[in-house]
Structures are given as C-alpha cells and as structure tokens.
C-alpha cells in the first residue's frame, strides 16, 4: 500500500504536515495578491469568481490530502508501540489539525469577494 511507504513512525512527520500547511497558506495568500494586482475580477461579481473557485479548489484538495495522511498516521500508530507509536500518533493529530486549518482558514473563500 502506498501510504505505508510514508513511514509515519519517523519524527519527520511531526513537521511535514504544518510545513505543507504553511506552503498552502503562503500559496493561497500570494496567489490571491498577485491575481488581484494583475487581473482583479470586477467587484460586482462578489464571491462568485474564477479566482475564488481556484483558491477553493486548491484548498479542498489540500484538505483531503491532509485527511488521508492523518488516517494513514492513525493506522500506523495502531501497528506500533513505544517511540514509534508516539511519533505516529502525534503526527496523525498534526495532519488532522492541518486539514482543519485548511478548511477553517479557507472558509472565507466561499463568501468574500477576492480583491476588495
């Protein structure tokens, strides 16, 4: 299985989740800023713009990815004891938090016009 290759018992997973979260965050913020500087959609369009759709799509995919990783970490935790279980459990929670972080910080994309 593909997920098993990730070796969730390695402590690197303690930081990978939130690093990816940071990348998502910076990507969404800078993508928005650049799009608004280069080609802002008309204010009349409200939140129903291609830009919102693109940001929302990226966020959704990221969140699903995190959820899968969290599940994988949880599975790995069940198969180990001691140190390895500790690393996998904490990593799984961190992935879950990252998923929540994406959904939560991405919520305004649904309703706020992008460049006002």
């Amino acid at each position: 299985m593909l997920l098993a290759r990730f070796q969730f018992t390695h402590p690197i997973h303690l930081v990978v989740g939130l690093m990816l979260w940071s990348l998502w965050f910076v990507g969404v913020y800078s993508g928005l800023s650049v799009a608004c500087a280069v080609a802002p959609p008309p204010p009349e369009a409200g939140a129903f713009t291609g830009l919102n759709a693109a940001l929302g799509g990226v966020s959704l995919i990221t969140a699903v990815g995190f959820a899968v990783l969290a599940w994988g970490g949880g599975q790995a935790a069940k198969q180990h004891q001691g140190r390895q279980r500790f690393h996998a459990t904490v990593s799984a929670w961190l992935y879950l938090f990252s998923a929540f972080g994406v959904v939560f910080a991405g919520m305004p994309i649904i309703s706020v016009p992008p460049c006002l």
């Binding site: 140190r83 991405g106 460049c115 006002l116």
Partner: protein
C-alpha cells in the same frame, strides 16, 4: 592503547570531582572574560537581562507619569517618543529574549544530562554581542538621541528624511548586533537538544521544557533573519540612500512592515513558548504526578511554532489589504487558540488528577493563568477584522499586549526563578516576602492594564504623549498610573527577595521540590562540569523512578566518569533514539569570542559615526578573529590531538564524519536560508506590488556570465563531494590538492559574479530595482568568498595534519556551505537574471 576508563574507576568520587573540576573550572580575575561555561554564561545573560529590565521598567514609569494627568508637560513629545520606543525595544530585545535564552542556556544541558552546550565559545560570543549591543543601544538615551519612531520603526517615519538624527541608526545597528546573539544561541540550543541528550533519552522521553526550547530556538533561527534583512536594508537606505522603502525610487514602506512582522509575530511566541515550558515543568512537580497528555503538549508546541508564522499580517489589518486576504490571517490567528487551550486544559487536568500544593512558584503560575487567559481572549477578539479596525493602535492593544507578554512571559519567568533559585544558590527564597511581592505585582498589573482596555475603547490612541482635559480618559489614566506604581513596588519586592535570599535564605535540602528532571541531580549550586557521570535514562522522570540516581551519578557509576585525558567531554547521541553515537570533545576557555565581539562593536560604532573605512577594517579584523577561533578545532594541539578512548567507548566526534559542528552548520544554514528567502520575498514583493517599481527595458545582469559563475560553483562543490566520498572510505590522497582546486573554482565564481555586478552598471541610489539587485549579488559574493576562505583553510589544515582520513570531520562541514551556495546562487540566477527576461516588466 591504555584504557582510560578503567583507570578512572579506581579513583574515588572526590578524586573524580577534583580531576573534572581541574578541567572545567572557571578562571578568576581578568581571565574570567574567557569563560565559556554554560552555567556561568546563562547566569550572566540573566543578570544582564534583569538590568535591562530595570531600565525598561523605569522608562515605563516615566510614560505612566506623563500620562497620569491630561495636558502634562513632564516630558516633551520628542522625549516621550524616545522613551516609549526604548521601553518597547529594551523590553522585547534586551530583556525578554536574552533572559529566556539565558535560562535555557543555563538549564538545558543540565536537564538533558549533558555537561555543556555544543558550541561553548559561541555562547560566549553571543553574550558579548548582547552586552555590547545593549550598551550601545541604551547609551542613546543618555545623549538624548534615542530612536523615536516606535519599537517597530515604521518607515518613512524612521527614514533619513523624517528622522535625520542618529536615533534610527542606534536602533538598526544595535538590534542587529543583539540579534547575532539571539541567533547564535538559537543555533546551539537546537543542536544541543537534538544531539547531546544523555543516553536513552529518546525524543519522546525528553523533558517538555526541552521540547519548548527546541521549538523556541528553531523559531528564532527562522524568525529573526527577516528582521536582520530589513534592518540592513533600512540602514543602507539611511546611510547611502538606496531607496528600498521610498515610493519615489520604486520602493515601498509596506515592505518594511512585512519584514518586521514576519519576525515580530513569531517573536511573541518565541517569548511565550519557553514561559509555557516553565509552567509545564512546574505543574507536574507541584501536583506530584506526571503531566497528563505529554503527546498533546508536544502537539500544541509544534502547532504553535508553525501557525505563529502565518499571522504576521494581523498587525497590518489597516494598511489596505484585500478583505479576503485579511480573512485568511484572521482565521489563522484564531487557530492559535486551539493549541493554547489544549495546554491550559492539560495543565488543569494535571492539577485535577494530582495533589497540588500552592507553593510560592505555583502562586505565580496561577497569576500567569488568569492574566494570560485574559490576554489570549482579547487576542482572539483582535483577530476579528472589523473589531481590529476599531481598536488597532489604541490603548486596547497596549493592554492586550501587556496581558500577553507580562502574563505570558514575566509571571512564568518569576515562577521559574523561584523554582530554580535553590539550584542557582543552594538556598530557599522567603515565602513571606515572596507572597507580598506576588500580590502587589498581580493587583498592580491588573489595575494598570485592565482599565486600559476601556481607555482604548473610549478612543485613546496609543503613543500620544498627552491628551486634553475633558476627553473622558482622565480618570482611567490616573488609575492606570497609580496602579503602575503598585506594580513596580511589587516587582521591587520580588527582586529584593531574590537578592536577599543569596545571603539570608535558609539552605535548601537536596531536590527541595521533589522534582523529576535531571537538573536536580546536580550539586546546588551546580559544579562547572554538571555531572560526574552521565546516566542512561529510561523514562521521562529519572529522579522519580530512581531517587538514588544523583548519588550514583556523583559516585561515577555511569558513563564517561573519566578525566585523565584532560578533555572536556560528553556524549553525542542519536537525535531520535538517544543511543550513544560518539564522544563530543568541547573547547575550553577562550579569548576569541570576546575579541570578535569587541571588533564587531567597533564596526557598529564606526558605522554609527559614519567612519566607514574603520568599519571595513574592523569587519576584516573580526573575520580574522573568528577564523583564528575555528583553527583551534579537531586535531589541533589545543583541541584533541590525541584520539584515544576507552575500549568500548565510541570515537571522538572529530574522528567521525558527523558531529555537532555539522549540525550547527546545518541549523545556521536554515537561518541563512530564511534570510535568503526573505530577500527573494522582498524582490518579488516590490516587483509585483510596489506602486512605482520599474523594470529596466534591457536586463542589466549578463545571463551568460552568471551562468558561467554558477557552473564554476557547481564544479567546486562537486570536487568537494568527491573528496568527501573518499574520506568516507578512509582515503585522503590528494585531499589538499582537491581542496585547493575547489577553492580555485570558487574564486572563479566570485570573480565572474563580481564581473557581472561590475558590467551591470547599476545605479543603486536611483532605483530600487538596482539597489535590490546589488544586495543580492553582494550576498552571493560574500558567500562565495566565505566558502573559498574556509576551503583554503581546510587545505592548510591538511598540511598541518589536523584534517585527513584520521580526522575527516571538518571538510564535511564546509561541504554543506558549498551545497547551500550552489542552491542559492542558482535561485538567484533564476530570480534576478532569468525571470525578468521571461516575464519582463
């Protein structure tokens, strides 16, 4: 080979102590300036921090005196602005961070069962940089030329045009100097925690305090470089007129705000995390049981560490950023509530399930809880964008910030000081005076700042030196001012208590609080070498599991109980499992850190007085001192010329390919990478957002020359990698020749880069584009030059026999720098030479 270990076992504990003491002890008199020991330097950091705290506190009293009544003339607005700016600057940069770093420097090796930090000379350099930088900065107050643009130095107010005197220069140069200290302490704390925990202390068995400090140190490493870059750019603008932050040339004052808050927000958590670490250490001890949810706390630490980098724009909600972007940062700011709440409830559950005792340190923890939760709640309020638009830059924010910083840092700090006081001095504090001090501080603090929320809601902006009678703010300000004097009385009482206890405190019994962590296995006050022998630790609570452990450690019944070789030694262990990997030998006392810091201080002063030639000379002198320092490493006669170890013991780190120096270089390169990414951020930010940015029609930088330079660099790095492969297989044939070859390739790269720079004919004082490009090329030149010098020095060391197949460590360290240079240089080519050609203006 004689087995040194067996020889040692024949000695009795007293003999062992004497031998170890002879190796580790501190010299007296003038030579005490050479001390590199973490216990001594940790104390120096803390005492110096307390002195700056008193200075910052006096400034705060001046502010409250001025604001006590409307229309007062106690201070002129010029002086008031200097006083408020310096209050914030001193408290943040000269008290909070160095104080907590000092505590970490003092405690971390003791907690993880090590004898010192991994780079003792770096600790010393850090201390002197802090001391000299702090003195330079505060001396500006005496000559009434202190910075006056607020502690975040927003430009253009801090620019040459609107702040022509030296105030801003004092700030920019002094703070950068102090930040060298913060970053160097950050680097070595990371490496120490990862690589020198005692045998068996796996990652998940570390004391929580070490987790917190690890996060703090990594955050310093990543978080400080953006401000260092910003300070350098602003100082360049002020000194030679490169318009980085001026609209007219194509710059943007908002870039400063981004760079400042990229540092400034993590800074708050850099201060909070170690303080929370103190709380997480104290609560289990006074509850008499292990913390519940160790994993949850680790989770919370990691989340806080990362999320805090995603909040910086919440200090800039009113600068006119699109509302959707503000909403991202608003949401991210609220996310921090989750890890904070987890910690609060972990602490609560620990108390709930234990048998807590309300001793003096716990009183301060309770004070922390109430004040910090209050500050956290107003923090969540401020994350709400529409509310923020109203209360931003009012006294509401001043109140919030003091709740978070005093509640989140000062209260836990005092709790920690009272808790570790017996360790510092071997004596107990006075419970009576201490309680008086607490209650005065607690009531005074709330009287000062709770009411200040209200003042802000009534519309009082921050940083006004006065207000009119009839504004409706009079009574609240008076109340705040009176309470602030109660607060200072409380703090004075605490300091008095601490000072008196050194003389009058009753002697503490061993491990007086019945704590679980290894620092209490030390003697009180601690010995210079910390532990006679280094134990194998199997749990998170070594002293609870084996109360006899301090005695067996003292009797030399554990690892490395040997001193006959005359080296300062401790174990290097695996970062994850805590298995022993090598013996780390540490350098002894040294003048070089003091000399290097003094040379840097001269650089700082000559930049202030605009004697640039002198600054240039002393930069070189400082560089020579630092290189001379690096010479005394590895197989050098003053380091470890003899590599004998006991049979069964691992080799010395300088005889392997992996050691603390390599890790320190890696962590330093993370800091450097953060600096470089901030630079790239600045370039792209100005390019896309700055209102009057202009791309030249013809790209000035020759792509061909840059690519040739990049290829030369790549070739040099490849040569070094090949040499490393050889060393790994114990081959060192033509090592020196290979190093010289790499140095030559590096020189070619530097010359080509210089040529590209020269032929670009930049006019950096005219356009921001050229100024930014110049900074990038200088960065590449500096790093290329540094790699060449270090490589040539390695080649020389091969000749002296300090480096070779028998001691292959150092080329591996230099190789890391080469790899870093290759990556950053090619990124630079892409950003400065390729993309402008592809995208155009």
């Amino acid at each position: 080979m004689k087995s040194v270990n067996q020889e040692a076992i024949e000695h009795d504990p007293q003999q062992l102590h004497n031998d170890l003491h002879a190796i580790w002890c501190n010299p007296k008199g003038l030579r005490s300036l050479t001390i590199v020991n973490h216990t001594t330097l940790g104390l120096r950091f803390m005492v110096t921090g307390m002195v700056f705290f008193l200075i910052g506190g006096i400034l705060a009293m001046l502010v409250r005196t001025q604001l006590a009544m409307p229309d007062q003339n106690f201070m002129s607005p010029e002086i008031y602005n200097q006083v408020t700016t310096m209050h914030g600057t001193v408290m943040m940069f000269l008290f909070a961070i160095p104080m907590l770093e000092g505590l970490a420097i003092y405690l971390i090796p003791k907690m993880i069962g090590a004898r010192d930090l991994v780079c003792p000379r770096l600790t010393s350099l850090g201390y002197f940089c802090y001391l000299f930088g702090g003195i330079i900065l505060t001396s500006s107050l005496i000559i009434e030329m202190a910075p006056s643009s607020g502690w975040f130095m927003y430009t253009p107010l801090s620019s040459k045009e609107f702040a022509p005197d030296l105030g801003s220069d004092f700030w920019l140069l002094g703070i950068t100097f102090v930040e060298i200290s913060a970053v160097s302490a950050g680097v070595e704390l990371v490496v120490s925690i990862l690589r020198t925990r005692t045998q068996g202390m796996a990652l998940h068995k570390m004391p929580l305090f070490a987790w917190y400090i690890l996060a703090m140190a990594l955050m310093i490493v990543v978080g400080f470089p953006p401000l260092i870059l910003g300070s350098i750019l602003l100082e360049l603008e002020r000194a030679v007129g490169m318009p980085f932050f001026q609209i007219a040339g194509g710059g943007d004052p908002l870039l400063w705000q981004h760079l400042f808050w990229l540092f400034g927000h993590p800074e708050v958590y850099i201060i909070f995390l170690p303080a929370a670490g103190i709380v997480s250490t104290l609560i289990p001890v006074f509850a008499g049981r292990p913390i519940v949810g160790y994993g949850w706390v680790v989770f919370a630490i990691i989340v806080t560490g990362f999320i805090s980098f995603g909040l910086w724009v919440h200090h800039m909600f009113t600068v006119g950023i699109p509302q959707l972007a503000q909403a991202f940062f608003s949401a991210a700011s609220m996310l921090v509530a989750v890890p904070t709440a987890i910690q609060v409830f972990v602490w609560l559950a620990t108390l709930w399930l234990g048998k807590p005792k309300m001793k003096l340190p716990m009183l301060w923890v309770m004070g922390f809880l109430i004040i910090f939760v209050c500050g956290g709640l107003t923090g969540v309020m401020l994350a709400l964008v529409p509310f923020n638009w109203q209360v931003h830059d009012t006294h509401f924010v001043v109140a919030h910030m003091h709740y978070v910083l005093v509640g989140g840092m000062f209260f836990p700090l005092i709790a920690g000081l009272y808790y570790w006081l017996p360790l510092f001095s071997g004596r107990m504090p006075s419970e009576n005076l201490g309680r008086w001090g607490f209650w005065l501080t607690f009531l005074g603090f709330n009287g000062t700042f709770l009411i200040m929320h209200w003042t802000g809601l009534l519309g009082m902006p921050r940083r006004v030196y006065t207000y009119e009678a009839g504004s409706g703010w009079e009574i609240y300000n008076l109340f705040s001012s009176v309470s602030s004097f109660v607060l200072s009385a409380g703090i004075a009482m605490v300091l008095l208590d601490i000072a008196l206890h050194f003389r009058y405190g009753k002697p503490a019994k061993h491990n007086p609080w019945n704590a679980d962590t290894l620092e209490w296995a030390n003697t009180m006050p601690p010995s210079a070498y910390n532990f006679v022998s280094l134990p194998n630790v199997g749990s998170r609570h070594p002293l609870w599991d084996d109360p006899n452990l301090p005695h067996t450690m003292k009797e030399g019944k554990h690892g490395l109980a040997v001193a006959t070789h005359g080296r300062r030694e401790m174990y290097g262990t695996d970062p994850i499992t805590g298995k022993i990997r090598e013996i780390i030998h540490l350098p002894g006392n040294s003048w070089w850190p003091l000399f290097a810091a003094a040379a840097l201080a001269v650089v700082c002063l000559s930049l202030l007085t605009e004697v640039y030639a002198l600054a240039g000379v002393f930069v070189i002198i400082a560089g020579v001192f630092l290189l001379r320092w690096s010479w005394e490493n590895g197989a050098h006669p003053s380091a470890a010329p003899n590599a004998d170890v006991a049979t069964g013991d691992p080799p010395l780190h300088s005889r392997t390919m992996d050691g603390p120096g390599l890790w320190a270089m890696a962590v330093f390169l993370i800091a450097n990478g953060s600096f470089f990414l901030s630079y790239l951020f600045g370039w792209f930010y100005l390019w896309t957002v700055s209102p009057e940015w202009r791309m030249p029609d013809i790209p000035p930088l020759s792509l061909l020359v840059m690519v040739l330079a990049g290829l030369a660099l790549l070739a040099g790095s490849t040569v070094i990698e090949k040499l490393l492969r050889g060393l790994r297989e114990q081959r060192d044939g033509r090592l020196a020749a290979g190093l010289y070859l790499a140095g030559g390739l590096g020189t070619i790269q530097a010359v080509l880069t210089g040529w590209a720079l020269f032929s670009a004919e930049l006019s950096p004082t005219q356009t921001t584009h050229d100024a930014v490009m110049l900074v990038g090329l200088f960065y590449a030149l500096f790093h290329g030059g540094l790699a060449v010098i270090l490589t040539v020095l390695q080649a020389l060391r091969v000749g002296y026999g300090y480096v070779g197949a028998h001691a292959p460590f150092e080329p591996a360290v230099v190789a890391l720098l080469w790899r870093y240079n290759v990556i950053t240089f090619w990124l630079l080519i892409g950003a400065l030479a390729v993309l402008p050609r592809v995208i155009g203006g």
